[in-house]
């Protein structure tokens, strides 16, 4: 034993409250296990259990109602010294509010212990029913007895993957039970059943604690798990994000002397964003400045996919495109998404798949069977056709980028080259 965990023997609880018992025996168990008070991080939240902080010589972290399990998990993630112990106090109401936090900590099998003070109701706010109030138990909001079945926090936690779960009665010396819970490697939860003296005892006169638990269909006991305990190495990664990038040198030439605004649009999954990306990188290899913006519906695999690309000899600030100079359209989805602005094009060029009827526009229209390369390659083909037809920059730039990006083997480059040479 290296020091007393409790600062005072005078604890701030009502006469007969089980929280007093839990606090005394928690500290007793930790002392018996040899923890120094400052090797213990006690995480509490809102509720009568949380006012214990001031009586402790441990580190204390006092958080939000129902969140102490998640807060304690966060503390655990930051520990590199496994000699530390994170103990989480929470009430039955907090456990209801933060059920997901408890299950997540159990699922990950974090090495923390959660002590659930189940006094069967919201004590601090006036004796209301919680999600852990046993069926039939009277509270200030269920005068005829709670008509609903309570969560079985022990079974839920056990199923989620905890190393150790126990339900005990908060009567007598419970320090050995707590010592066992604190000794586990991995996530442990101990639900300690009590009856709130201020509300529970008064509203349920004559009922004994063990009878209430038994009559609600719960049993005392312990449940063991064997899931792997979380280790910190699981998340370790560290690579410089800038080193991952492929640098693009100027190797080719372009013919632009002003901003070129391009819209490429088709259907999701048909290579629209890829073709825009290749176009942008190829343009960079000619010394142009570029921007590439994607636009698509919230569903990833269906509907339109539109890319807006700016190519410019000068740096580009504003990258939005209202009416483009160039529109490359390869499917009905793409046409419908851009119909209005194509109609507003007073000049420029519309490259459109021959299966589509061009809208009325003042742009020059070039219709070609871009989908002949297959739907997945239609956008790539159309983009390459635009480069060749417009002469915006060296055609070799796009072949170079496709090679550099490892796309040459994945895309029908030679087939497209032949089609372009026809």
């Amino acid at each position: 034993m290296t020091g007393s965990m409790l600062k005072t023997q005078s604890l701030p609880y009502c006469k007969g409250c089980g929280h007093d018992l839990i606090a005394v025996h928690t500290t007793k168990a930790l002392e018996r296990l040899g923890y120094d008070p400052l090797d213990v991080i006690m995480v509490t939240d809102i509720g009568c259990h949380g006012i214990i902080d001031k009586c402790l010589n441990t580190h204390t972290v006092h958080g939000l109602h129902g969140r102490s399990a998640a807060l304690g998990a966060g503390v655990f993630f930051g520990l590199e010294d496994t000699d530390k112990k994170v103990v989480v106090f929470i009430g039955d109401c907090g456990a209801t509010i933060g059920l997901q936090h408890i299950l997540e900590a159990a699922r990950l099998n974090l090495d923390i212990c959660v002590v659930v003070h189940n006094n069967m109701l919201y004590g601090m706010t006036g004796g209301q029913t919680s999600g852990l109030t046993p069926q039939g138990f009277r509270t200030t909001t269920s005068g005829e007895g709670n008509p609903l079945t309570a969560y079985d926090i022990c079974q839920l936690t056990h199923t989620a993957g905890a190393s150790y779960v126990a339900r005990i009665a908060g009567i007598g010396d419970i320090s050995a039970d707590l010592e066992k819970a604190f000794s586990q490697k991995g996530f442990s939860l101990i639900e300690i059943m009590e009856i709130c003296p201020s509300y529970g005892v008064k509203l349920n006169p004559g009922r004994k604690l063990k009878d209430v638990v038994k009559e609600s269909g719960r049993e005392f006991g312990e449940w063991l798990g064997n899931r792997q305990v979380f280790t910190h190495q699981q998340g370790k990664k560290n690579s410089d994000l800038l080193q991952q990038l492929q640098l693009i040198k100027k190797q080719f030439s372009h013919k632009l002397d002003d901003l070129q605004t391009i819209v490429i649009s088709g259907s999701a999954g048909e290579g629209v964003q890829l073709s825009a990306n290749l176009l942008a990188k190829a343009a960079m290899s000619t010394g142009l400045e570029v921007t590439q913006k994607g636009s698509y519906p919230v569903t990833v695999g269906v509907g339109f996919s539109t890319a807006e690309i700016n190519l410019s000899p000068d740096s580009v600030n504003f990258h939005g495109i209202s009416i483009p100079r160039i529109a490359i359209i390869t499917s009905t989805d793409g046409l419908n998404h851009n119909r209005n602005r194509i109609q507003q094009m007073g000049s420029g060029t519309l490259y459109i798949d021959s299966s589509l009827t061009p809208p009325e526009t003042s742009a020059k229209i070039i219709s070609r069977d871009f989908r002949s390369m297959g739907a997945r390659n239609a956008s790539i083909y159309a983009m390459m056709y635009y480069i060749q037809e417009s002469g915006v920059f060296d055609m070799e730039a796009i072949y170079h980028i496709m090679e550099m990006e490892g796309k040459s083997g994945k895309l029908p480059v030679e087939k497209i080259r032949e089609a372009l040479n026809d």
Binding site: L38, T60, G74, N317
Partner: protein, 373 residues
Amino acid sequence: MQNTEKTGRTLIDGSRLMIEALARAGADAFIGYPITPANLLYLYGSQRMDLMLSAPDEITTLQWMAGLSATGKLPVTATSFPGYALMLESVNMAYMMELPMVIILVQRLGPATGTATCGAQGDLLLLHGSISGGHPMPVLATSGFEDCWKLAAKAAEVAVRLRTPVVLLTSKEEVMTQKSFDTSLLETIERVDRPWYSKTCCSYKSYKPGNLVPDFLPVIQKEHQVRLNASTHDQEGILQHSTTEAMENTRRLEEKVINRMNEYIIYEHDIQAGADTLIVAYGITASAARDAAASLRRKGKPTDLLVPASLLPIPAEYLDILGRYSKVVIAEENMNHQLATLLYGQQIPKNIQLVNKLGKMISPEEIIKEVLP
């Protein structure tokens, strides 16, 4: 940024710059969950940070971050409005506990789920009212790739120096759009030290202030007891009702953010001789404002530009600057001119012209039209 050598020229997005900058500044954990349009930040966080944890929800995210911060880590998350809304109580907790962290808020079109893949600038007033009691939380807004780099590092620095959550405000188009960029011109980022209280002679109080900010000690050391508390508390960190000491502590939370603003007031004021017109824009709209100002100057209309990076608390300098012009145009991608409201409340002066838009980026032409009606 003048691009001459172009030795590091690449196609890049703002998300990558932000995460790399944060990592270099000392952020060592990314906690989050996938949400559009913060997806890339989540991806890069998983590749770059020493510790990356996928939380099951937004509340858990902030709670885990707070726990990590209590141990001395500097955690980062990225979200958009739906996630931020759920985080809010926990953001208040971190603010009250004085736990440093960086929250990247990527704005998208609301209300509610709105359109996840559409950018917006609709969350400024939400940030203004984020902390119960109206207390200010530092908010820095990125207006270009250089900002994604510099302000991300600054956000980490402010979070540590002031022991507070800091929001890095951005939007979909800033973090997902790719642009040609020369990374070799990026400034070196120094790692932010997070000094610990080191005196062994004296007792430590978790909330005893020095220059308005308490010395930090993590809960992983055993020289001194640490008490962190989300409820109203005294200097020791013990829960109090509304004692004098506790109220002083609560007042200090606001005072440290306001009185030490000079450490993080950042803005761009691009001036031209003879200009009587000022364009004001932040975030994604700053790019349109820059083009608009340049275009107006080419046309012979002297025009100045103010791009505020420090948005909250709102620096008094901004009102001083705006007051020097006979005409001011404030452009924001929302329908209720949130920056103008922050500056002037409901009494927006008649010489302030507003350009607002919903669901689309504001173009340079729309700003020019307001300058030259």
